[in-house]
């Protein structure tokens, strides 16, 4: 565990990214499962999609930072 966290999640980005993505996926899952209703659009599209995008963005930031730190970028 220490090996992973020492070089991959120094800024807590991955954990935040995972939580954000999990929440986003769950909200979108509710929309896809229940279909188009006014409340599911609000939950799935207006909350779920931004959370999912935030998760992807944080993950990419973590990867880029890690690659830079290793001198790969």
């Amino acid at each position: 565990m220490s090996r992973i966290s020492s070089f991959e999640d120094r800024w807590g980005l991955l954990r935040t990214s995972v939580i954000s993505t999990l929440l986003g996926m769950f909200c979108i899952l509710v929309f896809l499962w229940r279909g188009f209703e006014s409340w599911t659009v609000g939950l799935g599209i207006f909350l779920g999609v931004p959370l999912l995008l935030l998760g992807i963005l944080l993950y990419l930031t973590a990867v880029i930072r890690d690659l830079r730190r290793r001198g790969a970028l």
């Binding site: 992973i4 991959e8 006014s38 799935g44 992807i56």
Partner: protein, 240 residues
Amino acid sequence: MRVHNGRLARSRFRLVLSLLAFNCDRLLGATTAQHGLTAGELMRGVGLFAAIAGILILFLVEFLWRPRLQPSTYRWLLFVGLLLLPITLLLGVTTTLFEETKTVGSCASCHVMDPFVNDMMDPESPTLAAEHFRNKWISDHQCYACHTTYGVHGTLAAKRDGFRHWWLYVTGTWNKPIQYSGSYPNSNCRACHEGTVKFEEVKSHQALWLDLETDRLSCFSCHGPPHPGPKEQEVSAGNQ
């Protein structure tokens, strides 16, 4: 004992298959059997799969398996759970949303639209919407077919307006009776009617062509009304 275990495994396998078949049936809907699988239905299934797989992978990897995983395995699973599956899910949900918002059901999901949808489906109604509906002049997605300006921009504009309506609905900030904002472009009528023998035969269409093309004269000046007016909307709302 082995025979018993084999039977048990087979019966469990059949149960899982039947559950999957039931859910696929629910997922794809009754229309699938008649029209085949549409892009929206397919992408909805793909999105559902991506969401369930992503949630499972991320939860297991981050909260249960992390101490036991090799760093390379951990990285690959995060790559799948945080990039590949979310992108697949975004594609699935975007396609589903674009397809779903075309349906009459999505317009009717806000109760403020009931007077319009009820009128459209009323076989006795004299409005243009009802006439088009009962004669099947528009076979599917009747609201969307008339309320989008044709082309990509029109499609996006229709979605933007749809979300504006959604916002007004959930925040309860619409004014009753609801009214059409802006002006209705004749191009939406012309997209279907222009070039047909019946349309070209009408002398006033030829005489007023320039005015019709430039929206100086609305189609509704002679044809209509397209939907029930404010008074009819109130009566319809009162009947419910």
